[in-house]
Symmetry: C2
Subunit: 277 residues, 2 copies
């Protein structure tokens, strides 16, 4: 396998994918589609071999990875019409899947496989690209009917080759799961830090232990990344918030003298341990 790979959006994820594919001997040539500034850095770092436009890159590629923001991935879809080679794999790395898969389905004669590598770093950008970023991490690949195609199997194998663990599910299953495992924790951390920002004025010492650092780490995330995620997964996030509120209500009741929290703490600790096994 020696593929020509087009990476559309050469940031942390796209750049790391390019490096990992090169290191694994999968990529013959990596074509980068990004802003001139980013392409300059990616060329200098040996992450892409050539920078060009989408219209130039897509017809040459055996594999196209859309790894810009969700909104930009959605806007790229109609531009791919008629550009993609027969038999080429088109996939993406967006953090939500339903809106992207829907936009892809509107493009005739293109087989699209939604993807989401569950990997990242505190800092983004092509300078942070790292060929080992996906090592041991889950990588979701979507199939709407549970049936896989030869291209799906090929992409799944490729994901495995660069060290990730492929997981197969529908776009809807994905969005429901990440609403709970990623989007809800983000909102909790942001609301906590925002609430404390109101309580602790600049001159007040914040009595913080290591637990508060953990609890506010996600709150460091920049809003632009989250704007698109929230906009494309509203319904599932609201459902996850409502489920969460049941547990919260149990706590509020216990603090008002009704019931105790032992059973809740026990269930929570069991889940937290399971995550770490």
């Amino acid at each position: 396998m020696a593929l020509t790979i087009a990476v559309v959006g050469v940031g942390l994820i796209g750049g790391s994918f390019a490096l990992a594919a090169k290191q694994a001997g999968i990529a013959r040539r990596v074509l980068g589609v990004s802003s001139p500034a980013t392409l300059g850095k990616a060329l200098a770092l040996g992450i892409v071999d050539e920078g060009m436009t989408l219209e130039e890159a897509a017809p040459q590629a055996d594999l196209i990875l859309l790894s810009a923001t969700i909104q930009s991935i959605i806007e790229t879809m109609p531009r791919l019409r008629g550009l993609v080679r027969a038999g080429a794999i088109v996939t993406d790395a967006g953090s939500t899947k339903r809106a992207i898969v829907k936009a892809a389905q509107a493009v005739a004669e293109m087989e699209f496989i939604g993807g989401h590598p569950m990997a990242g770093k505190e800092k983004g950008g092509v300078e942070e690209a790292d060929p080992s970023l996906f090592q041991g991490r889950l990588w979701v690949l979507t199939t709407e009917d549970g049936v896989t195609s030869p291209r799906f199997d090929e992409l799944q194998e490729l994901v495995r080759t660069i060290g990730a663990k492929p997981v197969r599910m529908s776009a809807a299953q994905h969005d429901a799961a990440v609403a709970r495992t990623s989007h809800l924790p983000q909102l909790l951390s942001t609301a906590l830090a925002a609430s404390l920002e109101q309580s602790f004025h600049q001159e007040t010492p914040v009595l913080a232990g290591p637990g508060l650092l953990d609890a506010t780490r996600l709150a460091l995330s920049p809003f632009p990344v989250w704007k698109d995620i929230l906009a494309t997964n509203r319904d599932e996030i609201r459902t996850a918030m409502a489920e969460y509120l049941n547990e919260w209500q149990t706590q509020f009741d216990a603090l008002s003298g009704e019931g105790d929290l032992e059973a809740q703490f026990t269930r929570a600790a069991a889940f937290a341990k399971r995550l770490r096994d």
Copy 2:
């Protein structure tokens, strides 16, 4: 300064304090008051020099540190009546302060200074005792009227000598602050893990990234520790939860199409950065 120190409740905090005081040359002798099993370990580890009852230890001590659970500290107070040497320092390491300070005030002729070292480890127990546990960590010392006594100044200096940063405030100020920086984050993490435990059945893959590990770390805490904390700080925790709910409501409204979250994310990130400075 070479003091006889009585540690009542020789666990992670009490044991670490004993080791730190020995290492700093502050302790001439450490008397341990704990269960026989714990005293056996503490003696073997060289953490205490002698094990005895409260009634034997208190009259000999220049400094008494109450470092058992909150409920046990409260129950120890009336037993100290008439046992404490004139001029001795009596302090504690409980995670809430109002109930403990109130119980101490009922004991005539004893000057009590409430304390709370903001330090800990994932695992407790005397086996985990570590003389460097308090290095660089905040250590709250309470004064109800803002006035300090010679004993307060002495204890403050001692806390500094073992590497901690003393912070002076009233018991009520302390309890209000930790309701927000410690108790609220604990409840959020527990509610999150409990909610996810309902969503992800044993056979369902949890699409978890590093953010979820951070967000569920506090959920590993055992309930017995939290039972007393919640019972002695109900009112402040409920107020903190209500404040938090304002931020949550902003999020829920934004996800329903009313307003956006940019300002909230910006405030939250600013606070999270301030914590790390």
